[in-house]
């Protein structure tokens, strides 16, 4: 394929920690290479070498895919790139773009950077530009950072089909309709209410460690991270980073009221959940109370 036939991609970095960039670089390398082969990444502030952001801003060329990493602000006091606010740059870029993808939770929902109260005006791409006359809806790829494969899959799908089904939060349904809980290797412990602890392979992290798996949309446990693992598989509770509510308070602790979790798995009436829990707890399953390797 010749270069000019490939869709052009511009990666704009706004208020970010660069985590999404490093997430992409940590993608499966065959997949990443296929991405470089199939798309024409004309600008990324840390990867490409031919063009500067100013070159892109001043050019009239269309951008097929505009990827935005980081939250947006119109306030130059706290944040500016190439002598301007991220909002002003994005206003220019978005006009040239066919698809706009918010990469990661900051671009999608404001994320951690919107927690800095003194910096008024830190928002998601959608909050600033939803009213812009775009041909396609802005796509939110929540996740702090985004899973690299989710980004690649979204890009390839749009390239081949030109459309993607989105949920109420603007996230691709195919990636965000299931919960992080799906595919977690601790599910059996969840079912039989066997509580976990930090530093063990056994037990479910929902009861004490604050795991948000049953309330968080994302395919972390179906499409593994770095090809090898996921937070809950390794022993870290899900902190719900794909949701607009991230970050929350007291993330490594399960909020409870007289021993009952404040929040129960999505879509399950609290009462029903509690009666099932009661029943499940009456079973004492030896296998689940032993070390896996014993």
């Amino acid at each position: 394929m010749k270069n000019k036939e490939k869709p052009t991609v511009v990666w704009f970095q706004a208020i970010t920690c660069n985590g999404n960039t490093h997430s992409l670089l940590s993608a499966n390398s065959n997949r990443l290479e296929l991405f470089f082969d199939s798309f024409n990444l004309i600008y990324h502030p840390s990867l490409t070498i031919d063009k500067s952001l100013d070159d892109i801003l001043n050019s009239n060329s269309k951008i097929d895919f505009l990827l935005v990493e980081g939250s947006i602000s119109n306030n130059k006091k706290f944040f500016q790139i190439s002598n301007n606010s991220t909002y002003n740059h994005l206003t220019k870029l978005i006009k040239k773009a066919t698809y706009v993808i918010s990469v990661g939770s900051c671009a999608s929902f404001g994320g951690i950077h919107a927690m800095f109260k003194e910096h008024v005006g830190v928002k998601s791409v959608k909050e600033y530009f939803d009213k812009t006359l775009l041909k396609h809806q802005i796509i939110n790829l929540g996740g702090c950072p985004v899973h690299p494969e989710w980004l690649l899959q979204t890009m390839f799908l749009l390239k081949d089909y030109g459309r993607i089904a989105l949920d109420n939060e603007g996230r691709p349904k195919e990636l965000y309709s299931s919960l992080v809980h799906h595919g977690c290797t601790r599910n059996e412990y969840f079912e039989w209410k066997v509580e976990g602890e930090f530093g063990t392979k056994e037990g479910c992290l929902f009861y004490d460690q604050g795991c948000r798996g049953p309330m968080t949309h994302g395919s972390c446990n179906k499409i593994l991270w770095n090809d090898v693992s996921s937070k809950t598989r390794a022993g870290m509770p899900c902190v719900g980073c794909t949701e607009p509510t991230f970050p929350r308070d007291d993330m490594l602790n399960t909020k409870k009221n007289i021993g009952i979790p404040f929040e129960v798995p999505l879509g399950i009436p609290k009462r029903a959940y509690l009666s099932i829990t009661g029943v499940a707890k009456t079973f004492k399953i030896d296998r689940l109370n032993k070390k896996l390797m014993d």
């Binding site: 500016q80 800095f116 930090f198 970050p247 007291d250």
Partner: protein, 450 residues
């Protein structure tokens, strides 16, 4: 004459303002114009939430922030006389995770952030080193992502895992997983041998004198030849004063000022906002960057791999330093040298893990029950020494102070003394060289200002 230039292709962005006299830079100001307010964001949060927040200061050195946070929170326990017991296994798993991140970062930095610019001095055709397309560039990306898998096995993912916690670590690897981790690092060693150094890693690690550079092949030799040709051995010199605040299996803590001085007194570290923007609107003309100035006993010190090599007495790097001082050349060499050291050391650390030990021992006291306490920590991160200090009032974070490695190197003037990188840039004959000097510090603007 004055020039202003925006520097991209570092982590983030910086603005370089140079004043020229007779074709040489006579004054250089480095502006970091982005501030994300992490220290403010952390106020009033549950202490353990810091484990989720601080890794997100930086997408490339998040494990360093995580380790610094865990150490600072454990120091809180120490300060109230309730020192936690941490098993050797947990300690090892933390050090291993951080080491892997440093290896990943150094490889990316060499191939993405500095080598293309050095090759450009020679030819416009970057060939195998061309970003996105070049064979070696792609290989380097591949090896970085393979390396980081090793960390993902114990962290669940990278970037942004918080698998360390006061009392130990959250994960509990099996022998099989440890073997797999080691296997991934074997792949990286192969890359080091075949592409970076062109010699076996054992042979590389036996190098102790400058002349050994002649034994090198591979990209390091290519870098070395180009550097000599374009005099990168001459540029980038600053104070030749080095500091290393953290300590682990391979790095020692201390200072170098004409000679080696062991030990560090953290109370001698002073951060100044004299030339730094503040969130209040009283920003005078002197203020031009969000980076602060940080000094030890009122003096500027360089932090990073070169400092670590000087303080831990690495013979090979010392011999290069003796010849070319703290030039671009020496600085780049020191960073790549660490890749070999860390690879071998990290494999050793993996082999030392006794999986029968506990990963985590729960602290008896909840941090949320504490009032009027504080803790601090210093560790060696990819770009140098990272310092965290946390204080807790009524169970919530009252204040959190972070001094990142890049603040040591990239901060502005203090009392008419130039900051380390500023000082290194003065005397440069062109913008290209001054950018290379800046890059030689492995600039991370996100960390610099956090």
């Amino acid at each position: 004459m004055k020039t202003v230039d925006i520097v991209e292709r570092i982590e983030g962005e910086a603005k370089l303002n140079c004043t020229w006299e007779n074709g040489l830079i006579s004054d250089a100001r480095i502006d970091f114009l982005n501030f994300r307010g992490f220290e403010y964001i952390l106020e009033n949060k549950s202490p353990l939430d810091a484990l989720i927040y601080t890794p997100r200061i930086c997408g490339i050195c998040g494990q360093a922030h995580l380790k610094a946070t865990v150490d600072a929170l454990e120091n809180v326990y120490e300060n109230i006389g309730e020192k936690l017991e941490i098993t050797p296994k947990a300690k090892l798993l933390r050090e291993i995770g951080l080491n892997i991140e440093i290896i990943d970062s150094h490889i990316k930095w060499f191939y993405m952030f500095i080598l293309p610019d050095i090759v450009k001095l020679e030819t416009e055709d970057l060939g195998i080193y061309e970003p996105i397309k070049g064979k070696r560039w792609l290989e380097a990306t591949k090896v970085a992502s393979e390396t980081i898998k090793s960390l993902a096995i114990i962290g669940g993912q990278w970037p942004h895992t918080s698998y360390m916690i006061p009392g130990g670590v959250m994960s509990d690897p099996t022998l099989l997983e440890l073997t797999t981790m080691s296997n991934y690092l074997d792949g990286t060693i192969k890359f080091f041998e075949n592409s970076i150094s062109g010699v076996s890693i054992d042979k590389y690690l036996s190098f102790s004198k400058y002349e050994n550079i002649e034994d090198l092949r591979g990209d390091l030799k290519y870098f070395s030849d180009l550097s000599l040709k374009y005099e990168l051995t001459k540029y980038g010199k600053s104070y030749s004063q080095f500091i290393s605040l953290g300590e682990n299996t391979i790095f020692k803590k201390g200072r170098f000022k004409n000679k080696l001085i062991n030990g560090i007194d953290y109370t001698k570290i002073v951060e100044s906002e004299k030339n730094t923007f503040t969130i209040e609107d009283d920003n005078s003309e002197d203020k031009h960057t969000w980076a602060k100035s940080v000094l030890y006993k009122d003096e500027f010190y360089e932090s990073g791999p070169l400092s670590r090599a000087m303080i831990s007495n690495n013979k090979f790097i010392r011999s290069i330093y003796t010849k070319y001082e703290d030039s671009i050349y020496t600085r780049v060499f020191a960073r790549i040298n660490e890749v070999a050291l860390l690879l071998i050391e990290t494999k050793k650390l993996i082999s030392k893990i006794d999986i029968s030990q506990e990963s985590f021992l729960e602290p008896k006291i909840d941090l949320k029950k504490l009032d009027g306490v504080y803790g601090e920590s210093a560790i060696e991160a990819t770009r140098g020494s990272l310092f965290h200090k946390v204080s807790i009032n009524e169970g919530k974070i009252f204040s959190y102070n972070i001094i990142t490695p890049s603040v040591w190197n990239l901060g502005p003037k203090y009392n008419n003394k130039f900051g380390v990188a500023q000082n290194a840039i003065i005397g440069a004959p062109s913008i290209d060289i001054s950018k290379l000097i800046l890059r030689s510090f492995d600039v991370c603007s996100v960390c610099t200002t956090h």
